[in-house]
């Protein structure tokens, strides 16, 4: 039996609904239809009265979730695409994110964001928004890269007392498969060494972990041992694991699918540069999408985002130094 990243997300929600009567799901087309990507397939049937179709009203969807959280429920909001969460941005960053700090009342809700580029999806169905959400104090931002993490981190997200932005990568939905669902997991906030190496550290998260692993495999026959760190959550950011890895390798390349300006990769480099400058043998580098909206045409899209090839090329440059 094998299970996809998307199925793991469905299963995690089934577990959350089964184990915790406070959980409900709210989003466009999530009911009988099972969601635009089928991430809530059959849940409305299996859990009557717990899965609700929302109007196309992202602001009100998040506002309702905040109100329900105040009442002690644990809503899961599905955005049809991460890109449309900007229509609910105000409620996420000004309402959900500030509630606990202002009132001492925790705001336990999960906003699921199907995000990231897939070929042909264009500027409004491809965005990676982890950086803008991570910028706001009060939010937890998860970016699982594996089927196992998609499952266990979503279950954890619902149990967490803070608002969680759960970034699930559409590119991984169907491609990524695991043999079985895990029964235990690393704690939230802890990064994972996805591949061990001693020559260079690549820090990545979500779909870019797989590009980084492919780049590491491409460099292995050339004699380079690349270590790949999967951040798992970008907020909190596990600086210790990154620093320990850089201490072993002396070289740091950060890879993100989001735009470069002020991004997660910039944050990682800033931390390593300020706290671990002496560990670095060469200047740290980052590789991101280009600083333009995400192009529709596959030729442009493939050049816009980091790929295994581009990562390997960037790594080679640093390794020669």
């Amino acid at each position: 039996m094998s299970i996809t990243y998307l199925e793991a997300i469905r299963e995690a929600q089934a577990v959350a609904l089964r184990d915790d009567p406070r959980v409900f799901i709210y989003g466009q087309d999530v009911g009988a239809f099972g969601g635009a990507f089928k991430a809530t397939k059959n849940l409305a049937k299996e859990f009557p009265g717990r899965v609700f179709d929302a109007p196309i009203s992202e602001d009100a969807m998040v506002g309702l979730a905040v109100g329900a959280a105040i009442e002690g429920l644990r809503p899961i909001i599905e955005m049809q695409f991460a890109d449309f969460s900007t229509a609910g941005f105000n409620q996420i960053v000004n309402q959900a994110a500030t509630l606990f700090w202002r009132t001492n009342v925790p705001c336990s809700l999960t906003v699921r964001l199907p995000f990231g580029g897939t070929s042909g999806s264009g500027p409004f169905h491809s965005q990676s928004l982890e950086t803008i959400y991570a910028h706001y104090p009060g939010l937890i931002v998860m970016t699982p890269a594996t089927v196992e993490d998609a499952y266990s981190m979503l279950i954890a997200a619902v149990a967490i007392d803070d608002p969680v932005i759960f970034c699930e990568h559409k590119f991984l939905y169907y491609h990524l498969k695991a043999e079985a669902l895990p029964s235990e997991a690393l704690p939230i906030g802890k990064a994972r060494i996805a591949r061990e190496g001693r020559d260079l550290t690549i820090v990545a998260y979500s779909a870019m972990v797989h590009e980084a692993l492919a780049a590491a495999a491409e460099l292995a026959p050339e004699g380079w041992q690349i270590e790949v760190v999967d951040l798992r959550t970008v907020k909190p950011l596990d600086t210790d694991t990154v620093m320990a890895s850089v201490a072993r390798t002396g070289r740091l390349l950060c890879v993100g699918e989001a735009w470069p300006w002020g991004g997660v990769t910039a944050e990682v480099i800033a931390r390593v540069a300020s706290e671990g400058f002496g560990l670095l043998d060469v200047p740290p580098q980052r590789l991101n999408a280009k600083d333009t909206p995400i192009p529709y045409h596959p030729n442009l899209w493939a050049a816009h985002r980091p790929t295994a090839r581009a990562i390997a090329a960037a790594a080679r440059k640093m390794l020669r130094l």
């Binding site: 602001d59 070929s119 042909g120 600083d291 909206p293 045409h297 442009l300 816009h304």
Partner: protein, 346 residues
């Protein structure tokens, strides 16, 4: 034979009315055939990403395009192939965008329905529903500001899109500014899979107009004659200084949400109701019964449209795809303000 608004009118057949119908019908036909071509190109794997069709919504959409002047503003949405053509978009623009030609108006940067030529008053939608309405308001505001007082702006949205905050903010804004906006709601009974009763709870979306101080219009969106009449009136009232007009049409989308969707959620009772009738067929019946066209003319227009589409597809398929090495990787217009660090991927 279908009951139409025209049937109710005595006589009802001036030459101008006939010409309006004929021109509208031919755009509808082109749009339908273009949609069918796009669907087959999609199935053949020739189109990247999604394809969103307008099947069943051509009568409503075309009535907007033919009611506007070329100097007006039009901001179509996902199901407006017919209105786009009638407003003046070329089949070439449509195909270049859908096939990702570097020579098209969107240069492969954006695709499918996300196309336009803003300088020509033909706006290029973003995906976020409701977001275009206030932008149309802005174009009308600006024209008035510049002393242009005879322009109208029309834009479209679905029943589902009326639930966005953006829709409500923009409609109120248009009313406050008394802008010549014609906001057309195609109520096709579903927002993707979600039926009307999970989207809104008022009896009729046209009722929304009253609360904003906007003039409501309702129309049977399957009936070309009714659409032409109601849209013509709404556009004329907006042009005459009557402020924003909300036109709500009832119809059914006769296809999936996109070509990936089999629309299995659509209630067969609605399909078999008058809402489910095919507006193109209704329009043909109108033309034939009024003796405005005969079967051989219909057939020759169809052949002509098919030829135009096939020739254009062949041409576009020979056009170059965008080249990432020649691409200007910047989104900033000011050349002196562009960042050029390698880290930004420039």
């Amino acid at each position: 034979m279908y009951q139409t608004v025209l049937d109710a009118e005595a006589g009802g057949g001036s030459a101008a009315l006939r010409d309006l119908h004929l021109s509208a019908y031919r755009f509808m036909l082109q749009a339908r055939l273009l949609d069918e071509k796009l669907a087959s190109l999609y199935r053949a794997g020739k189109i990247h990403g999604g394809v969103f069709l307008s099947r069943g919504q051509e009568a409503l959409s075309v009535s907007i395009g033919v009611s506007l002047r070329k100097t007006d503003v039009f901001s179509p949405l996902i199901r407006d192939s017919a209105g786009r053509l009638a407003f003046g978009e070329s089949i070439l623009d449509a195909l270049q965008t859908c096939l990702g030609s570097a020579l098209g108006p969107m240069r492969g940067r954006d695709g499918n329905v996300h196309r336009g030529r803003p300088r020509d008053g033909y706006l290029a939608m973003i995906s976020h529903l409701g977001a275009m309405i206030s932008v149309v308001n802005g174009t009308l505001f600006a024209r008035r500001f510049k002393g242009i007082t005879d322009a109208v702006g029309a834009t479209c949205i679905g029943d589902g899109g009326t639930a966005t905050g953006a829709f409500h903010e923009a409609l109120n804004q248009a009313a406050v500014e008394k802008l010549p906006l014609v906001l057309v709601v195609a109520n096709n009974q579903y927002a993707y899979s979600t039926p009307n009763d999970r989207e809104f709870a008022c009896a009729d979306l046209a009722d929304r107009a009253v609360g904003y101080g906007v003039t409501p219009h309702s129309v049977d969106g399957t009936d070309l004659s009714a659409c032409l009449e109601v849209m013509g009136r709404a556009v004329a009232q907006a042009r005459a200084g009557g402020g924003p007009q909300l036109v709500v049409a009832s119809l059914l989308r006769l296809c999936g949400h996109g070509e990936h969707d089999d629309a299995g959620y659509i209630d067969p009772r609605i399909k078999n109701s008058p809402l489910g009738r095919d507006c193109l067929k209704v329009a043909e019946d109108i033309l034939l019964s009024r003796h405005w066209a005969d079967a051989s003319e219909l057939a020759s227009w169809r052949n002509e449209a098919v030829r135009a589409i096939e020739t254009t597809v062949a041409r576009v398929q020979r056009e170059p795809a965008p080249d990432p090495f020649a691409e200007q990787w910047t989104a900033v217009a000011g050349t002196d303000l562009r960042e050029t660090h390698e880290e930004l991927g420039v």
